[in-house]
Amino acid sequence: MNQTVSIVILKVVMVSDQETCDGSLSLSDFRIAANAFTEKWNKFNSAFPEWYWIDCSNRLGFAAHGVVDGYLSLQNVFIRRSLEEEHDEGSSNDDDELFDDATLVQSTSDDGDQYHFHVVYSPSYKVPVLYFHAHSTDGQPLNLDEIEKNLPTKSAKVLLESKWTFITQEEHPYLNRPWYMLHPCGTNEWMKLLLLAGDNSMATNGTEQYFISWFSVVGQVFGLKLPFEMLKSIG
């Protein structure tokens, strides 16, 4: 699983076109899934900072009825710069371990870098997009090189090989300032694969499953773990 996922991020893998799922999510499903995800995360992962829905319905200067606009936010995650010797590359025992443990993610720390994560819907790509911003304890924003040092080795490798399609700095659609983001242009392709790999019981809680599967990949880039109870639902 671990291997597959890395490869999927690395390259856009072609899959035969099946009508089961096109790897995208509609805007209304995004909101539903985001809410369900938040609820479960906050329930099963209570030691960790919580996800919040940031409402932007009135960002055009007034609150319009029937228009829900906003994004998910996870603030104040501390990630400690890992020591290089702790990694040993390529020794994935292809067990069912979903996550690379190299990076220590903590909810509170004095010596870690502070990360903020936002999940924003992209109407162009019809997928969720992970935006993030990082700064050190003294408040200085981190540059890409410094961020790389916080990432598990595998993510860092991918980053090096594909600088522009992987992590790029773009304007945060709601905050009007530069944030880093995991570029969404390949998301629907690897989501297609992920959802095909699982069983096809998409009918009941498909959108929720989509969101959890999606997060299991993008969260992994930062060593963010999903609680076991949530992983169960994606098989």
Binding site: L60, F62, P178, C185
Partner: protein, 364 residues
């Protein structure tokens, strides 16, 4: 005007804005200070691409240090990834010619602007934008990502040098054809299509996408301003909403106008137009009729707009104060597909600048 020709597109590609660029006071180390630089900047271009011309011009006056070029207009740092023409249309409601900008070589405001390492950053920003457009149109960015290296280079050069023909030749390989609504297609049938039977034409149209890449820059006016000379002064980007939502041309046989497109992007302003857009533009609220526009009497317009009450949640209708694309203010009832085909930027996005007066919400 030649029908179906590239005349309008050529105008867009040839469009340029006369700039008068001043070096920021804090970076002037010579007496007298350097004269401002006068440059004709292509509308479809990007500001950092001017730096090869500007650097030699100002380098003698600069303090020692590393150069990182950025621009501001009346103190507002300019986002370099927005095409120059769009910045001008958006920030200069009453066009100022030459447009007075300030250039900086030091003190890059990294908290407001995305870092820019010169041409390469601009190129990748363009390619990313193209990728996004391809995704919107096709549901996949593969054509752009798999472009050969020479094609990629040539395509980018065609943007830098304003060569429409080269751009058309290479971008045609990306197959980013945009399908209009049936109505417009019938108005302007291509010779190729005419040979097919009706059934076939419909089948092709149905299988193709009708999602249109649009970037909308919106200023929500809260007060009245009667003419654009009392234009707003933007000192922060927070005053402008950037809305990146594709337009879906929906409905068969309907005449889908520019106004329909605006409505579909802004359900906040046009709650009734969600999904069901009807194009009755006889008494269309929100349009400023041409005659009234030219007199500049916005009072009259608002009175007429307020009369038509359809929305349950908002009193009155939003009033479009200014809609500008590529320096022109097209009538809102013209077919959207024409607008897209002729006025889009080389990244296949239609960039729309919009000043809109929001309706007043009822008590909530």
């Amino acid at each position: 005007m030649k029908r179906g020709g590239k005349e309008a597109q050529q105008y867009v590609w040839d469009g340029a804005i006369p700039l008068q660029i001043h070096l920021h006071d804090s970076e002037v180390t010579t007496l007298p200070p350097p004269a401002p630089a006068l440059i004709l900047a292509p509308r479809i271009g990007y500001l950092p691409l001017l730096s090869p011309q500007l650097k030699p011009f100002f380098s003698g006056a600069l303090p020692p240090g590393v150069d990182t070029v950025w621009f501001d207009y009346k103190g507002l740092p300019l986002k370099w990834h927005i095409p120059t023409g769009v910045l001008f249309d958006l920030l200069c409601a009453e066009p100022e010619r030459p447009w007075n900008l300030t250039v900086h070589f030091r003190g890059y405001p990294g908290n407001v602007l995305i870092p820019c390492d010169g041409e390469d950053s601009v190129k990748w920003s363009y390619i990313n934008s193209l990728k996004e457009a391809a995704y919107i149109i096709h549901g996949s960015s593969k054509n752009v990502m798999n472009m050969s290296q020479p094609d990629q280079v040539d395509l980018w050069r065609s943007v830098m040098n304003g060569k429409l023909e080269t751009h058309t030749r290479i971008s045609s390989k990306l197959k980013l054809g945009i399908v209009g609504d049936d109505f417009s297609a019938k108005l302007n049938p291509s010779p190729l299509k005419a040979q097919h039977s009706v059934d076939e034409t419909e089948a092709t149209a149905a299988s193709k996408s009708s999602r249109i890449p649009v970037r909308l820059y919106l200023w929500s006016v809260d007060e009245d301003f009667d003419d654009l000379e009392e234009e707003p002064h933007f000192d922060s980007w927070d005053q402008i909403s950037y809305i990146n939502r594709p337009v879906e041309i929906n409905g068969k046989g309907k005449y889908f106008t520019l106004l329909d497109a605006v409505k579909s992007i802004l359900p906040e302003f046009y709650p009734n137009s969600l999904n069901t857009i009807k194009s009755e533009f006889k008494n269309e609220p929100g349009i400023e009729p041409e005659e009234e526009r030219s007199t500049g009497q916005s009072n009259i317009i608002e009175e007429t707009s307020v009369k038509s009450i359809e929305t349950p949640s908002l009193s009155g209708q939003p009033v479009i104060k200014l809609l500008r694309i590529q320096g022109i203010e097209p009538k809102l009832e013209i077919p959207f597909s024409w607008v897209v085909k002729n006025l889009m930027n080389p990244d296949y996005f239609l960039h729309i600048c919009l000043y809109i007066k929001a309706p007043k919400p009822l008590d909530t």
